[in-house]
Symmetry: C2
Subunit: 213 residues, 2 copies
């Protein structure tokens, strides 16, 4: 079954929101209340969940604990997919340090950088390996995913190698539009600048609202 991209985007939001509810000791919630908290509509929420089965009983609301577990299953968070991170610069080390991979369905198996001076340095408890070892590592450990924290120019050759070593999923911070060359790859592109441009737009809307009042 093909799940639309908008639904895929909302699943992690549901998962986070339900986690927040549990922290507040809330164990039951109606689609209406959940919708309000998430600036969605109740019918949108019901439609989203209907893609995956029956999670609530009409008129009784959702069991927050169970629903969260179901969404974790849908997101496949329990299966810790082996992933490698490429590029231990500013961005790469921040990602390695800030992201709680295990809770998000991944295990950070290795970090690679071409800078020999960094080899062996620990980042988030993982020693940096030289990029020369990438092929051997992939042959021995078969990582499923790679996190690209390198510039666009360096990515073309690297992705070519990684796909030939069997890596098919990419968390892509590199601004290299992978999909054009590798339509079969599974890719999540992160363009932080897009979010800032959206803020620029919304800030202007806010300003013009204030000026018109």
């Amino acid at each position: 079954m093909k799940i639309s991209d908008s639904v895929i985007r909302r699943l992690p939001r549901y998962y986070r929101q339900l986690g927040e509810l549990l922290l507040e000791d809330i164990h039951k919630i109606s689609s209406k209340e959940l919708a309000k908290k998430m600036s969605l509509t109740a019918s949108q929420i019901r439609q989203d969940f209907n893609n995956f089965g029956e999670f609530g009983q009409q008129g009784y609301g959702y069991n927050v604990d169970l629903l969260r577990q179901e969404i974790a299953k849908i997101l496949n968070l329990h299966e810790k997919k082996s992933t490698i991170l490429i590029g231990a610069g500013n961005l790469g080390t921040t990602i390695a340090a800030h992201i709680d991979f295990e809770s998000l369905g991944f295990h950070l198996s290795a970090i690679f950088d071409k800078n020999e001076k960094l080899t062996g340095t620990l980042v988030a408890g993982v020693p940096i390996t030289h990029t020369d070892q990438l092929k051997e590592f992939c042959e021995n450990n078969a990582p499923e995913a790679a996190i690209l924290c390198i510039p666009k120019d360096a990515s073309t050759e690297l992705v070519k190698n990684l796909t030939s070593y069997g890596v098919n999923s990419f968390w892509n911070f590199s601004a290299y539009d992978l999909h054009v060359d590798y339509p079969q790859a599974t890719v999540e592109n992160v363009y932080l600048g897009d979010s800032l441009m959206a803020l620029s737009f919304k800030t202007q809307q806010q300003d013009s609202k204030i000026n018109h009042n």
Copy 2:
């Protein structure tokens, strides 16, 4: 006019895509071709642009240069909004160093951190100021936006202060759900973990597709 969130999300993508086309020396494109490059439909693209006026001539396609300029205007990228970054840790310094603020509609005016040892250190050419100076800085410089690169717990008090100093736009990396306490604030939340969970979901879909073939 109220622009839907999905349209706001797509505007930066259009802007980026049109920039890519110019780099390839492509100056005219049909909605159909643009749709294909972006995994959208031509009618969706036409509908999106119709929110803002007339940008193409039926049957003649879009002028890439002009369309990109129009989208830059819509996104208000030319007006460099003064912004401050709070938290010069790993994440904050990465954001300061990696983001090209000027091209995205902002000017990074100051970086604040409560760690006195960091005061005066340059990050991306901007000296770190102690958080004690925050109020005075805001009174003198009236920044419009703040980038929150601090933990959730530290954010509650800080956002209270910032809003009282007149800051109303937030690029929020803090996982503090601002909107609950400040419904009037303009906020872009960045949850990098959501993107990784989406990758987890899509990786599973890819695996099950391969297994069923």
